[in-house]
């Protein structure tokens, strides 16, 4: 086994809470077996910021809420053979997508920002300006699930996904025999 080249994995957290990355640790001791089979490329876990070479699997947490998220996601699609969305944020927008429709407004983004920076009862913002520094990535009109931006090959459901589904997916993908999840393991929360 040790002679085989290790599978190369890249990960990114877009509009997510990093909970899905933390959930990777819920694989518990199976992680040790898994680590014999893989090595990490670009990922917040390695702090490598750019792809050093093509990867076998890319794992994306979070959907797209700003233009930088879109660029990162497109970069992953270009550089990974298999692209996996992990968690409800990547799958359907998740909690950040609450800004899309729940605000009962024709301009949900404006209403969201005004509530956060101007009108909110606990807001202390003397300038009354919504942050608009050119260094900040431009927010999208709404939060998009990853599959609406690029083609996603597989999704690992949950918020955060359990160790069992993550292991099921990764072990299956690494052996090339992933057939979907045990129905009993699927959770959207």
């Amino acid at each position: 086994m040790s002679d085989l080249p290790k599978a190369r994995i890249a990960t990114a957290s877009l509009a997510g809470c990093f909970g899905c990355h933390m959930a990777l640790l819920d694989i518990d001791e199976r992680l040790i077996e898994l680590m014999k089979l893989v090595e990490f490329d670009r990922s917040p876990l390695t702090d490598i910021k750019r792809f050093t070479r093509r990867c076998d699997i890319g794992i994306i947490e979070g959907g797209c809420c700003n233009e930088e998220n879109v660029h990162v996601l497109q970069d992953f699609r270009r550089n990974c053979d298999i692209l996996v969305g992990i968690g409800q944020c990547a799958i359907m927008g998740g909690l950040p997508a609450m800004r899309n429709a729940i605000m009962h407004s024709d301009e949900p983004l404006r209403e969201c920002l005004e509530e956060a920076y101007i009108k909110g009862p606990f807001t202390q913002n003397k300038t009354q300006i919504i942050p608009n520094d050119p260094a900040l990535p431009l927010l999208l009109d709404k939060v998009y699930p990853c599959s609406e931006v690029v083609e996603i090959d597989y999704q690992i459901p949950g918020c955060a996904p359990t160790g069992d589904v993550i292991y099921e997916a990764l072990a299956g993908l690494l052996s090339g025999r992933f057939q979907g999840f045990e129905r009993e393991h699927i959770r959207f929360d």
């Binding site: 359907m92 909690l95 429709a101 959770r187 959207f188 929360d189």
Partner: protein
């Protein structure tokens, strides 16, 4: 005409005249997925999640009467795919944020998605409609974002409570459930109504206030069992 027999997925099933395919299946422990149908309520045949092939034709098992020697297909990959797409579209049509929903774990729509293995990337866009929340009533809230228009509350209120608190308004994609008044507070809805009880609304639309998240993860309806388990276990008995 006395009892007769027909087949579901190759299993011989006995039925009484007038029974629907679903009623006969339930009795012998064969689960046919369903959302708009609920025991004790009149059949509506609206959601089509119970679609089966009977004699080669697609029919709603909750309204189609069983017939002698009928050959019914229920759990086939083709039918389950159709059901998965139907259920998926219900997610796309509303705003279903399961991680923050108080029905999560007890929700029939979510449990149906689990049972049907709905994990593939969505084929359809999320419509993300703007739908109001009606929290006017002191004991009840309606979060229409999660309503799947199954009509169970309509039938429960009309036929069981004798009140008619809920009804359909609008047409086509705009058709939705509304309270029979300017808001729920101005109806005679009470939290003790059958229509408001936990068993009637399959999702997290009708909410009894001060009750949310009472059962922890691990103790909710579908934490340990797939939806349909209570019917399927009859088969082993």
């Amino acid at each position: 005409m006395s009892g007769f027999s027909f087949q579901i997925d190759g299993v011989e099933v006995t039925a009484k005249p007038g029974q629907t395919i679903m009623e006969a299946a339930d009795e012998v422990g064969i689960y046919i997925p369903r959302l708009c149908d609920h025991e004790g309520l009149r059949h509506q045949g609206g959601c089509r999640v119970c679609t089966v092939k009977a004699g080669g034709r697609s029919v709603a098992a909750c309204t189609q009467p069983a017939a002698p020697d009928l050959v019914v297909e229920n759990e086939t990959p083709h039918i389950n795919k159709l059901r998965r797409d139907l259920v998926g579209m219900l997610f796309n049509e509303g705003n279903h944020l399961c991680p923050i929903c108080e029905a999560s774990g007890n929700c029939e729509l979510q449990a149906m998605a689990y049972r049907l293995g709905m994990t593939e990337p969505t084929k359809f866009p999320y419509l993300e409609p703007c739908r109001p929340v009606d929290a006017s009533h002191p004991d009840i809230a309606l979060d229409n974002n999660r309503c799947i228009s199954c009509g169970r509350c309509v039938r429960a209120s009309q036929d069981v409570d004798g009140k008619g608190i809920f009804g359909y308004v609008g047409r086509g994609i705009h058709r939705h459930i509304a309270a029979n008044g300017p808001d729920l507070r101005h109806t005679d809805a009470e939290v003790t109504d059958f229509a408001i009880s936990a068993e009637v609304c399959p999702v997290g639309c009708i909410i009894r206030k001060r009750e949310g998240f009472a059962r922890p993860i691990g103790e909710r309806d579908y934490d340990d069992h797939l939806i349909g388990y209570d019917i399927e276990k009859k088969r082993d008995e």
